[in-house]
Structure formats: C-alpha cells, structure tokens
Subunit: 794 residues, 2 copies
C-alpha cells in the first residue's frame, strides 16, 4: 500500500479521451437539433399543495405555432426509480404537491413561443393545506402526504446492533448533539434536457441528460405503454450530474408523449429556475446523535435519530433512509449501534441522491461528535480515529463485508502531508486544523429492481486494423468512465490508447449497465471490461504462440506487441496478432460482464446498501476564521483516498478534488432553501452560490493505493467517497481555530459570528461564575460523572 | 423449386426497415453539417493528357475566406482498389491523364467560394499526345499510358479450354459477329460526397458515400500515412451506387488531407458534372465472338476476343478483364472456349464496375449469337438454351463449381408467363419477343487483398429488453441489406422485426465486411448473421429448457416465444428467454462470420472470380418497334430469377425490377460518350438519359427459389444477375419484331432506322438477285456447308 500519485495502468495518459470536452467538440443534448423539431415547455403549479380542478388549454392552442398541449390524463401511470414506491405522474393527475410540480406541457414551433404558450394554459387549482418544512410535516399529519393520506411519512427505518443503552451507560464520556444539514442542489452547468423522436417505423428515440439510460428505458416503456423493443435511449455526454440526473423526470415523458402525439421531434430544456425546482438534491436532515467512549478513547456505542425532509415524492427516498444510518459504521466505529430514521414528505421539490447519497449528512454529525469526544478526552482526534478503526478483511457490526481497507494509510498521509503533528495548535489566532474520515460504497450488491442478471456488461469489437471498440452501457457524465474503460482494455491488449474507441450511453448500441450512481462505474464496468478483454487476450496469445511455435503461456502482452517472455526480441505487433487470431478463430469479439456477490441478506430487508467493496478517505482541513466578520476561509484540504488501484491517476485526482471542492462548497456556501410559501429562495446561479475557481481552497490529493481482491486490478471508487469528510473536517477546523461549534450547515459568516458572540457571552458568564472548561483543542478528560454533557450549537 | 412470389422468412414484412428512406428521414452524407466546416473543391485538368508544369495557388489563397490549397505533392502516394495496380494519385503528381483528372484542391469558408477559388488556381500544363478512344489506344502505343510507357495496355487475359478450333471446324453452324457496347454511367441520384474531420485527439473521421468502408479505411491509412487505428470511416446511407462508389476517390483523400491541414472539418460534394467525370462506369467493349453448334442445337465452341476501353487508370480493370470472359460459361454453354481480352488505357475518365461488372457486355454478344444460331437452325431459342444448360451440382469447363441452379425453372417461368409458345410470331407487325439467360456470382471466393480472415462478420448485442442489435460492416446503399440482416436475425430468434436494430457502415462500430460489391451481401453477410444468431438461439433454448425442465432439443423457437415442441402451450416469451439466458450465461452477445471455400486455384491466376454460388436468370422481352421512326418501345420484361431462398421477397423483387430496368435503360437510352477532345458529350441528367417512371416497361418479376447448400437458408444474390439478359432479350425481340440486328448499344431510333433502311435496301438487292433467306423468326437450318456465315450488324 502506498500513498502518493499512483502510476496508473498507462501512466498519466488517462486524460487523452477528455480532449473533446476541453476543446469544445463534445455535443451535449441541447446541441442536437432535429429537422421539424418542436419545443416543449412544462406548465408548473404555483402552489405548494393544490387540487387540479380544471385545465383549459384553449387559449394556448389558439396561438399560431402551438401544436399540442398534454396533461396528466395523457399519461395516467405512476413512475418512480424504486420499484416499490412509484408515486409520481409525468404530469400531476389530480393533485400537485409542490411549487413547480408539472401539470401540463405545451409543444410549439420555437422555444420562446412554447414559454409564452405555457402561460396561456389556464389551470384552475383548489389550494390544499401544505407542509413546507420538516417540522410542519411532523406536526401536521393531516396534510396527508404519506401513503394512505393519514400522515406525511415516506419511509421509516430502525435498526439496532448490540446493547446500545448498556454500552452508553457504561461509557466514560457520552457526547450528545443535534445537527442540521440544509439541503443542497447539484447545480450542474448543463440543465436537464430531453429530445424525443417517434419515427415512421414506430421507434421512439429519446436523447436525455440522464445518468441511468437503462432505468429510463424501462420507465418510458412502462409509463408510455410502449414495448421496450420500440424505445432507444441515447445519453449524450452530460455536463455535470452529481446524482441529480439519476431518475426519469417529467421532461423525458413529456417530450416522448408530445413526439408521439405530434409526429415531430420535441425538445425540452429546463431553465435554470426549473433545474432548481426539479431538484432531487441532498435531503435536509435533522440528526440527533449520541456517541459514547471509554476514557481510553474506545468508542462504545452510537445512537442516532434522523428526521429527513424528503420533499413531495419518494424518489430514491427508501434508499436514503437506509443510507442515513448504514454507512456510518466505517471506517472507525463503536461496539453498539442503533439508528432510526424517518423520511417525511413535504410540499417541496422532492429530494434524491447527491454525491455521497444519504451518508454525507450523518457523517458530518458523527465526525464532529468524534472531535468533541477527542477534545473531552484530551486526545489527538487522529489518534482517536486510529484507535477505533474497522480493519481490512473484516465485517462491520451491521454486516458489511470489508475487503481492502486503506484508512490507516490515509490517516498517515494527511497527518504527514498537513504537518498535523508539528503545526496543530501553533498556527496562530483564528487558524485551525480539523480532521475527519469516511468510507463509501463501490456500487450496491443489488440492482434497483430485483433480478439475477449482471449489473454491468461490456462488449468488445476487435478490428483487424488494430482498433478495439468498447461498447458499454455506462454513462459518461464527465467523471471519465469512458477513459477508464479505454485504459483497462488498452492495457490488457497492449494497445495504444488512441486505438481504443468507447461507445457508451446508448441502449441500442451498448449492453446494459445499471447507470452512473452509487460509485459503481469503475468497479463493476471495469470488471466487465477486464472480463471481455481477457477473452480476447487469450486468443491473441494462442494465435501468436502457434505462429512462434511456443506455448501460449510463454506469450507476454507488452505495449504494442506480443512477445516470447524469455526472448522478448521474438514477437509480433498487436495488430498482427489480431490478424493472426482472426485468421485462426474467425472475427474477434467478446462480451464481458460483472455481477455482485449476493451478501448481506434480503434485498427488501435491512442491508440494501451492502456493497462489494468500500473506499476510504481521510481529510485534514486548514481554515482561517475572521473573528470580526465570521468569514471562514478554507486554506487547504489534504485529501487522502484509498481508491484501491488508481487505474487513471489523473481521473482519480479529478474526482478527489471535485469531491472535496463540493464538500467545501456545501460547508460554506450552498443552501437549497424553500420558503413557507413553497418558493425557492434563490433559484439562479447568482443567488445559489457555488464556488468560482477563486473560491476553491488548495486541494492536496494523496492517492492511497490498496488492492481490492474483487476490484478490477484492485480498483475501487473515487467519485463520491472523498466528499464526505470535507464538511466535518472544516467544522472541526473552525472549532480548532476559534473554539465554536457550528452544527448547522452551511457555516455562513452570520452563523459563525453569532456563535462567536454567544461564546464570548458565555465566557463572560462562566468567568463571572468562575466556571471551568475552555475552547481550543486542549480539553481535559471528562470524568465519568461528566459524561452525557451535551454540546449543541442550537 | 418453385416459381412465384417467395414467402420470405417473415412473409412480406421485409420492407419495414425501408420506411425512413421513403419518408425522407434518412440523413445522407451531404445532410451532415459540422461546426466550422469548410468546403473543398477540386481543380481539374481541362486536357485529355498533359504534363503539370506549375501550380500557382497565390491568387486563390489571396481571396478572403480561402483557407488552404493542396496539390499532388501533399499526398505523393499512389492508390488503387486492386493491390497490384495502384496507379492513381489523389491529386495528379506530374501528369494528368484525362479531362477531369484532379490536380489541386481548395478549401474555403463556403461552397460557392470554394468553386470560385478553384478557378483562381493557375495551373500551367504542357499538353501531351492523347488517345481518347479504344482504336486510338490500340493504334498509338506511343501515347504510352501503359506500365513502362511503351504501349497503352492495362491488362491482358487469354484462356483456352478444349480444342476450340477443332470444335468450330466440326460445327454444323458457326455464327461470327462484332458487337460494341458503349459505356454507361451509374448516374446515382446522390453524387459522391465526403466529409472529413481531424479531431484534437488525432482521430480522423471520414464520412463518405463509399460502398466499401473497409477498403477506404485501408487506403486512407496507406496514402495519408496515418495509422488505421486513428481513422474511422462512416458510410451514411447511400443514395444509389450501383458499383460507382466501390473505390476510394480523390475527394476522400482531399477532404481528409485538408481537414488535417486546416484543423477544420471539410466537405466535398461532387457536382453532377463531376459525377460524370469521376465515372468508373461500365467499360466500353468491342467484342468479336464466334459460336459454333451442331445441327441438333448442341453448342460446340465459343471463341471470344474483347477489346476493353479502360479509361485513364486501372481501377478494377484487372478484374474486369477476367470477368469479360469468365462468367459466360453459365448457364448454357459449349464444349470448348477460348477468350482473350485486352483492357487498354485511354485518356478518358477511368471505367470500373457497374452492376453486372464486366459480364453484361459479353453476355449481350453471346445471347444475341445464340439467337442467331437458333434462327439459323430453325430452333426455338428457349429450346436451344435448354439443350445446352450446365446443370446443378456440376463444374463449368472453366472450373467454376456450380451448386444450386434454377435456370430450367427460370426458363419455364418466363416461357409460361410471357405466353411465349402461344404468342410468339403472332403479335402482329413491328412486335416481337426475345429471350436471354445469364448467371452471376454471389461474391468472390477471394478478397481483393489476399488474407485468410473472414470476408464478413456480424456481431450481435442482445438486450434484456428484447432488442437485438446487429452490427455489420455491410454497406446499405439502398439495396436493403440492413433489412435482410434484420429479417434473418429476427427469424432465428423469434423476434418481431421492430425489435432488431441494424448498425452498418461504420468501421468503428461494426466488424469488417468487405463491402457492397460482387453481389456478396446476402450470401456472405447473411451467413455471418446466421452464424451469430444461432449461437444466441442455442443459449436461449438451453435456458428455457432448464426452466421448463426439458431437453434443449425439445425447445422450438416460434414467433415471439420459445415453446416445447410437442406441447406448444408451454413456453416463455423471447424477452423472458433472453433474461433467463442472461441470468444463466451472463450478458448475451455473439460474433458470427463467414469465409469462402478456397476453390478454383490461385488468386493471381486464372480463376480470380470464382464464387461460392451462382444465381441464374431468364428474361423474355416484348417490344414494339415503330418502323417509321425506329423507336423501340419495350412493352414488358418477364424476369425469372433464381435467388436461392428469397429471404425478403419485396427486396428481391425490387432488385429484379431495378436490374431489368437498368438493363433496359442501357439497351435503349444510356450512352456515356467522351469526344475526341476528351469532353463528356452531356454530363448532366438532361443530356444523359435515364428513364423516368413513365419510360419503364412493365416488369413481371418471377422469383424462382432454389436451395443453395452454402447460402443462408439457401439464399443467393439478386442485385446484379437480373440485369444481364435485359439487353440481349430486347435485341433479340427487336429482331423478332422487325428483322434487324442492332449489335451496337444503345438501340437508338436512328440506329434502328438505319438498320431497317439497310435491310430494305438488301431485300431489294436480294430480290433483284432472286436471293433467299428472310427476316423474322423463321429461318432454315443451315447446311453444313453453310456454316460460318457471318452475321454482323456493322
């Protein structure tokens, strides 16, 4: 195991396939224009909760150039990504459940006209009582957003491992706190877009910015009642997704239906405002967390209760409810664990998965809790974590099988690289260091819909010209999965990267892969690619061996040639080898696939999220806090990430930086807030603040390579895991810098300033009372009788 | 064996995939527009033969918007479709050899500007002596167009089988004649077009109207000195080709080079005038043919000498020279055969393959000769042919292996359908019936470049949604090969045609197929498709058998379901079967391929054209000749064609009609004539007459199904064979109608009128001399002493 840069399979060349993106040659969905194409525009409900009494489209249809208007009655079939919770109509049928809920869709000759015509659709609403925040949903069950209409509950999960109450009671220190994580949006630069065409042969083609062409394919078929054999989903390269395009959306159904109705192609492009209402971003969560430890720093038990603000529909909420508890048990954990989590429906845009789905929020609460314990015990927070690590080749207390585990090396790396030991506590006033760790899945062991088929497949076409084409159902959303596949196949077959083509994101061309979610790409699609490439490699070796009159075992695949292992001067080029093999075996090609080990119990039971492997991350953040303004300036984040084998180091670094950047942005800036009126508080990129390049802290990426026994060449994920620790590491660094705990996201200047003023007020009071206990990283070990002290920011 | 309509594999549904063509949804090459695209325009030599002394592009480059000019020096590498005769430069290097030879190419911001700028390129020529017709090339070896510059010979072939002189000497009747076949052009509605893009990753993509993406791929690599791994050739659907797009052309090299030089995409679209100069159409041939027979109508020997006008470059000429003799020996032939054929270079646009490559011209001469023999012997011309048929499961005297052979059924069919027996000789003045037969190859046993690899491959992707995608290197040029593949695969797997996608004509996406030439598509690509589909079918049957607990042998694939053979109520849908098989075997996919049996001796020797199977055709034509004007009106052509199994009857009929139509057009209208100045006599669709729908005779297509042991489901070709007999059948019908032989193409009113006048003059002379022998279909059997009488039209 090593920490550093990673050499990669082909060195640093993994970036080659990204050139079309950075040179502007990529055609995104909105770049596609089809002859006779119409523009669609969705009519949206302006109320948080309303009955649709009547829709009169006559004024719109009277407008010259308006071709069609559809309503919920045209597609009276519920959809939903989770097969057990389909609860959305493409266009609301009777009730609209949030401001922005789709109720009708117009198709017109151009985009402007479509927008104008949408204003002319007269919808008569009867307003209904609404719950526009979490507390409202809890307090007012009569709003009846839940199944059966008797409450607002979306999903409840409660699991318990070990004697939690006994362990907490026996602890030397117990930290209890409330944390609140405001929701955030994905804010991709490319908004959602879909184009549909229904041709004269009855084939429906849908181009979409989706991350999950396969699921979209299934849902289009089911909802539109069209055979899947008559549907093709094409996912052009996507300009940012981050989980926000992991589900079918109204626009795909509407574009498809309008194309079928009008016989013309139809495009729908969400405006930036619509993008914020389409949302499916990170769930707001209110977490109450109790963590116990011995005086030696051994964690005893964790008791976590979480209330989740799900928004108007189920989306991935069933999974979110599990993830909010499940993934906490790695990499450092206690002996006992109880968690209960309830997702509530609210009359707000539905929440879904965002990078680090469901687990970023409790990770914040837990890692801050650990920091508080370390402070109370007077321990180094890194040492506290080291002491409680779950090791490699082990099983967590909630039944997750851990294979490779590089967390120790990650901690070593950030400790060393940040100068933790030498610098901590010596940075001067207003500056501090904080640490946090996390673990994340490499895909899930179960598909979203139950089946025994492979989760991922790759088909290779091998051309006698020396070109190998990789057909993969994976979704290239900017994360570089196409490059990853090219690198794996090129390496296996001795090819130059330029001789490999990757065709992905097209249900007609590529075999099924379940999609770009849960960080499953490299692990699953990579394994499928290796499986395919090795079939071809075996044939090349056999053909070359026959020609050179040696055993296939003696043939070595090197860059550009297949040679005799102990006589490397004897060999043939890869292209010649392909031609020899084609002459010997017939035209070459192969299908490779990957399916997960079925571990962890019943799919519908408690371990839905169990993954074949886990990545590990440690961050140290350094901040400077301006005590006059409350402004937090994150100077540097040191990110050490165990990605298994780094197949393409450039891409791994990109993912580590992108994740840490996004975490820092959520920590400091991003805030997806819906007011009591159901309106977004700033649905634009002026008001919703994502960092510019000037706002990004220095990011030091430290690749930690482990070897996962089930990963392709030992590789694991890097796309989501490295986000998690950013937020608690910054929170902990703020405390280290200025002695205040900000337990509510984001850490805005006003919140920091208020906390500083409150701290000053208390210090005055404590001083007046002669009380003990200070801020900073130095704290005394609490006595047993001191356990249970609550530190809460609010 | 049956004559009629053919039931097809899926009934008459084979037309389904053609809908995009007839509804205007197909995007042809010229429909593609790329951002920042430049337009190229080729500067062409105005002289039939000239040395290029100097090229000065300064005036062109000074024009605003002109981006680049390239000349021969930029691509100093010869190309050519036949590996042994590369003799063309993309742009002529030192010498231009015909009016229209490419000497430079301009790239400019728009098409008009490119055309204007091409006029500003100043080329200084030194004129050279030229040979602008066949006789000139024979008479003036000093023009030196041949290899070594000492003569104008392109290729000589001479082969002899049996004691030809002895057999002719022993014949009861010998017919000797001269025939001249004027060249004709393909005149596709879509002119040649190419677009090239050289992206930032160094990948060169060339969209082209080519029929042979694989060869274009190879030649682009060789000539441009770019690794084939860095080239992708895409062949969008082609708007007519007929052999005229079977080679790389200057435009593809120029577009590619200009794209590489400028860094921008470049499109070159030939004007209609350029299309006629690019040519590569049917070779003009002057044939001297001697055919002997016994008084009983047994053919004894054939002695054929052919001079071929090849135009300025080799093109496919090596093959043409063989084909001009080789394919005559089927379906009805003699005991002895000698042929010599010499292709000459002339300072004219080079000729190449056109539908029925090389064999349409001698077929005309031979079938007219047979008509003359029948007349001389007083035999029914159908009976004469029946008497000399080469049977199924036999070998021709020049070594061609014949497998299936439905010529007898074809003759029966046209005889019956045309009312030959009842109507012939009773049609009244100026009307007549004529018959002719032919045979054609189903691809060649050898690739154009020697190799041991399959000639054709098909890769299948099988999707759990019930969609099967067929990747094929075949070139869809309107002949329907995509539909043919879909039908084969759908039938094999029990799928609806709408559940099959075909991806063809893209070197990145599809495995190698050698191209759309020599009528190889259905036979070779069809076999490859079956090979692939049967691998999948076996897995489906095994998976279903396991589920139903029976043996795989008991599972029957029916339309839409796999069922137990003796209990067809038990079964699963095809989609379920795919999912079962995917769960059992992993993701499904397969590669199928086909290679030819290596028969007929050495590739570079005498039997280059040997095919794995032969199609057979018989035509009867009915004409009305206006003796006042000489105008020939073809009333009806009855076309019986042995295509083996008719996989898609609609497409087979389309090919039969298209072939017979084209033959009739060549017989009556088309004439590709280059004047002594090297200029085309009418390079436009106003002057070059192709028939409108009003000019087309009634075509009665009679599909004759045989079962070829090597064809896919017994299928053979239908795309070229049915053209051949049209011309001699019409010629023979004219003789039957008005008693004149027109042995020179086309049968224009002026030629017919001249022949009628000549006949009248002779009759007057004969009457004056009291001579015997008349016109019409009644003729006396010549005595042995009368043998050797020459009937020559000119």
């Amino acid at each position: 195991m090593s920490a550093g840069q990673g050499s990669g399979l082909l060195g640093r060349r993994g970036r080659a396939l990204l050139a079309p993106r950075v040179t502007g040659q990529v055609r995104y969905t909105d770049d596609i224009h089809l002859p006779r194409m119409l523009w669609g525009r969705i009519v949206r409900c302006p109320y948080p909760h309303a009955r649709i009494a009547k829709i009169d489209a006559s004024r719109a249809l009277a407008r010259r150039g308006v071709v069609a208007v559809i309503t919920g009655k045209d597609m009276p079939e519920r959809f939903g990504i989770i097969p057990w919770t389909p609860d959305e109509f493409p266009l609301a049928l009777e009730r609209a459940r949030f401001v922005g809920d789709a109720v009708a869709c117009v198709a017109a000759e151009d985009e402007r006209l479509a927008h104008e015509a949408a204003e002319l659709v007269d919808v008569t609403y009867e307003r209904l009582p609404a719950a526009t925040d979490l507390q409202g949903a809890i307090d007012r069950p009569e709003v009846g957003l839940g199944k059966g209409g008797k409450d607002n509950v979306s999903k409840e999960v409660a699991l318990s491992f070990g004697d939690v109450d006994g362990l907490l009671a026996g602890s030397d220190v117990v930290i209890e706190g409330d944390y609140y994580y405001e929701g955030s949006a994905h804010a991709p630069i490319e908004t959602h877009c879909a184009i549909a065409q229904h041709d004269k042969n009855g084939l429906l083609t849908v181009w979409s910015t989706t991350q999950v062409p396969h699921y979209l394919h299934r849902e289009l078929s089911r909802v539109l009642r069209v055979s899947p054999a008559r549907i093709r989903v094409i996912q052009p390269p996507v300009g940012g997704a981050f989980g926000g395009k992991s589900e079918p959306f109204s626009l795909e159904f509407c574009a498809a239906k309008l194309a079928m109705v009008t016989g013309r192609p139809v495009k729908i492009l969400y405006t930036r405002e619509e993008e914020f209402y389409a949302h499916r971003g990170r769930h707001p969560m209110r977490m109450h967390m109790k963590v116990g430890a011995t005086r030696e720093g051994k964690l005893t038990a964790v008791d976590a209760q979480t209330a989740i603000d799900g928004g108007a529909y189920s989306s991935f909420g069933l999974v979110t409810a599990y993830y909010s508890g499940q993934l906490l048990t790695l990499p450092a954990f206690a002996e006992g664990y109880r968690f209960s989590s309830t997702r509530y429906f609210t009359n707000k845009p539905p929440c879904g998965p965002k990078r680090g789905h469901g687990s970023v929020q409790p990770r914040f609460a837990f890692e801050v809790s650990l920091d508080k314990i370390a402070e109370r015990l007077g321990m180094d927070p890194i040492a506290l974590r080291r002491q409680n690590l779950v090791g490699p080749a082990s099983t967590t207390l909630n039944g997750m099988r851990v294979t490779s585990n590089g967390i120790e090396a990650c901690l070593d790396a950030v400790e060393r690289s940040s100068g933790w030991k030498e610098r901590r506590g010596k940075l001067g006033p207003g500056r501090g260091l904080g640490v946090a760790v996390s673990a994340y899945i490499c895909g899930t062991n179960y598909a979203i819909y139950p089946n025994d088929m492979p989760q991922s497949a790759v088909q290779l076409k091998v051309d006698r010209s020396g070109v190998v084409t990789v057909f993969s159902g994976q979704s290239e959303i900017g994360q570089g999965c196409d490059t990853m596949l090219a690198v794996l196949v090129a390496d296996e077959l001795g090819l130059d990267l330029g001789a490999v083509r990757v065709i992905s994101g097209d249900t007609d061309l590529a075999p099924v892969d379940l999609g770009a979610y849960s960080s499953r790409g490299t692990f699953m699609n990579g394994n499928a690619a290796l499986h395919a490439a090795r079939q071809v490699r075996d044939k090349l070796r056999e053909a070359v061996a026959a020609k050179l009159e040696v055993s296939p075992k003696e043939i070595l695949v090197t860059r550009g040639a297949l040679v005799v292992a102990n006589d490397p001067g004897r060999g043939v080029t890869v292209t010649e080898a392909i031609q020899l093999a084609e002459g010997r075996f017939g035209t070459l090609g192969a299908v490779g696939y990957y399916n997960t080990p079925k571990l962890g119990g019943d799919y519908r039971g408690g371990t839905i999220g169990a993954s074949p492997a886990y990545s590990f991350t440690a961050h140290v953040a350094e901040v400077a806090v301006d005590v006059e303004t409350g402004r937090v300036d994150v100077k540097t984040i040191w990110v050490a990430h165990d990605c298994g084998k780094a197949l393409c180091p450039t891409l791994v670094e990109g993912q580590m930086e992108g994740s840490a950047y996004m975490g820092a942005a959520e920590a400091l800036l991003e805030e997806h807030v819906i007011g009591a009126d159901g309106l977004h508080q700033g649905p634009s990129l002026l008001d919703y603040r994502i960092p510019t390049s000037l706002d990004v802290p220095d990011l030091v990426s430290l690749i930690v390579e482990s070897h996962d026994p089930e990963g392709p060449h030992g590789a694991k994920e890097a796309g989501e895991g490295p986000l998690h620790p950013s937020i608690p590491a910054i929170a902990n660094a703020i405390y280290d810098a200025v002695g205040v705990r900000i337990d509510r996201l984001p850490f805005t200047p006003s919140r920091v300033l208020a906390a500083l003023q409150e701290k000053a007020r208390r210090e005055v009071e404590d001083g007046a009372r002669g009380g003990a206990g200070g801020a900073g990283s130095a704290g005394g070990v609490g006595s047993k009788s001191g356990a249970g002290a609550v530190v809460a920011a609010e």
